[in-house]
Amino acid sequence: MILMLKQLGNKRIALGILIVCMLFYPFSVGYSSYFLTLFVITCIYVITSLSLNLLVGYGGQISVGQAGFLSVGSYSVAILSTKLGLPFLVVLPLAGIITALIGLLIGLPAVRLKGHFLAVATLGFGLSVPQIALKWDKLTGGFSGLSVTPSSLFASETQLFYFFVFLTVLIIWLINNIVKSSIGRAFIAIRDSEVAAQAIGINLSFYKTTMFVISSFFTGIAGGIYGYWVGFVSPNDFVITNSFLILAMIVVGGLASIPGSIIGALLFSIIPHFTDSYVGITNIVIGVAVVLIILFKPKGMVSMFNFKRNKSEKTKKNELLLKEEGNRGVNI
């Protein structure tokens, strides 16, 4: 069993298995609408937890209002598609851009706020979005919600499903590139030492707002996916408990880890499927999971797998150098 887990740690094999599973998923569940929805919701949470991890895990900026961005994204899709009649390929990116603009507004105070204060500010945002959606009925339809005009691009649910799965994989790749780049390193630098980050030329306010913009952009897209898949948005779709759930996903999965965010999102999207038939069990199970993980695996579930660092040429080079150094006897 442990050997299997270790094997899964090999990124290529894990990725291959994952993609094959995703391709055959609709067949294996007999095109059941319920199971397809379960999968798409999981995808939405994968994207959202990745974006939140960018903010919390990598950048060290607490956000307890991520579900607010999901709401903004899903409402953008509903309003743009139904009220303005814009096509799918315009609406989805626009949903991301609108949410990113909101993220910019939230990110601006984050430049000055830290830790608990930032948490409270984002909490306020997460709480207020559903309220605004409820009260601003001219735009949002109030408590009765809004329907989303389905796209004519996709002939069947399965096609839409494959598109969203593809989009999710694409976003995982994009975020992976960002965190591995100089921008990603700047985020981590800010988290670990703001003084040193400034001294090496990292503009704190610029990067903190950038973090919020990137994070809310992808979350907005996830909200858009939700809108198109479910076909209906209402103020109760993404409330503050969803924000906490997403936060729990990245803590349980693993902070500052891309596989961690995916594992956490998978776990917490699938648990309700098994527990929802017993009233109230879902929250207990999730709560217990969080406590157990924090007690026994504080680095998240991802630390159970042996995810190796990118050990390609970099380490080979080092090992060669190590041998040379070994002869010279390096010690200080």
């Binding site: 030492s193 660092r309 970099k314 150098l321 150094e325 390096v330």
Partner: protein, 258 residues
């Protein structure tokens, strides 16, 4: 190269640096020494622009630097290391050095998120540069080690390495050998001399370890209670009664044993 002109720094009513003037000539190793609390690190923090002087001017190559923000200082060619090692503790040594290259890397978010060949190439170049610096510091074998696992001595090395990465003109070193044993101190002093002689950096050094200061410095300024009390070559300083008094207390010529 770096000129302090009547710089005064105040925190509330406390004057941390009092009318300080000195000049660091290009291509030299200049040390600032003084008892604890003399205001040495405050001087560094003024240069890094974390503090703004209440009065006076700080010029670097003729350019007034008080107008810059902290993150712009590296771009005019001043890098620093920290007294209590401000490394990015969860990163590896390699990644820490790569962040030192931040101002020089391309940061187009679209190119980066698509991982375009231009990004890959600049990543590869910066990695090469990082290995060069590690070679210089002789820490290549630690490239993939997380810095929080390293000994203090190595962490200091990485801190200095990160400062060198951006190819600055002036390097500020804040107590590079604090808490090191004599062998480690010897290595660092060799490194500092290398920085000047082989790589043509100008070094401004704060240090308590007198053996290091005397060995590497071209000129020394002594501070006490925010004021400059003496300045000169290491030899002059050693024999200056004012300096001895600052370090050992007042010399009472009429002391009696009761």
């Amino acid at each position: 190269m770096l000129t302090f002109n009547d710089v005064t720094v105040q925190f509330g009513g406390l004057t941390a640096v009092d009318n300080l003037s000195f000049e660091v000539p290009e291509g030299s190793i200049y040390s600032i020494i003084g008892p604890n609390g003399a205001g040495k690190t405050t001087v560094f923090n003024c240069i890094s622009r974390f503090y703004t002087p209440a009065k006076g001017s700080i010029k670097f190559c003729g350019d007034e630097i008080t107008k810059y923000k902290p993150h712009q200082i590296i771009n005019i060619g001043i890098a620093r290391s920290f007294q209590n090692v401000e490394l990015f503790s969860k990163m590896t040594v390699l990644e820490n050095l790569l962040t030192g290259l931040h101002p020089k890397l391309r940061k187009n978010i679209f190119a980066i998120s698509l991982n375009l060949p231009t990004v890959k190439r600049s990543e590869e170049d910066s990695r090469k540069k990082a290995f060069e610096v590690m070679e210089l510091l002789k820490i290549t074998h630690l490239a993939d080690e997380q810095v929080s696992n390293l000994s203090f001595g190595f962490q200091k090395m990485v801190d200095i390495g990160r400062a060198i990465m951006a190819d600055p003109k002036l390097i500020l070193l804040d107590e590079p050998v604090a808490g090191m044993n004599p062998i480690e101190t010897e290595k660092i002093s060799q490194l500092i001399l290398n920085l000047k002689n082989e790589m043509n950096y100008t070094v401004l050094l704060i240090e308590h370890d007198m053996s290091l200061v005397m060995k590497v410095s071209d000129a020394v300024t002594v501070m006490n209670f925010g004021k400059k009390i003496s300045e000169g070559t290491p030899k002059d300083i050693q024999n200056d009664p004012v300096v001895i008094e600052a370090y050992l207390g007042e010399v009472n010529l009429h002391a009696e044993v009761k």
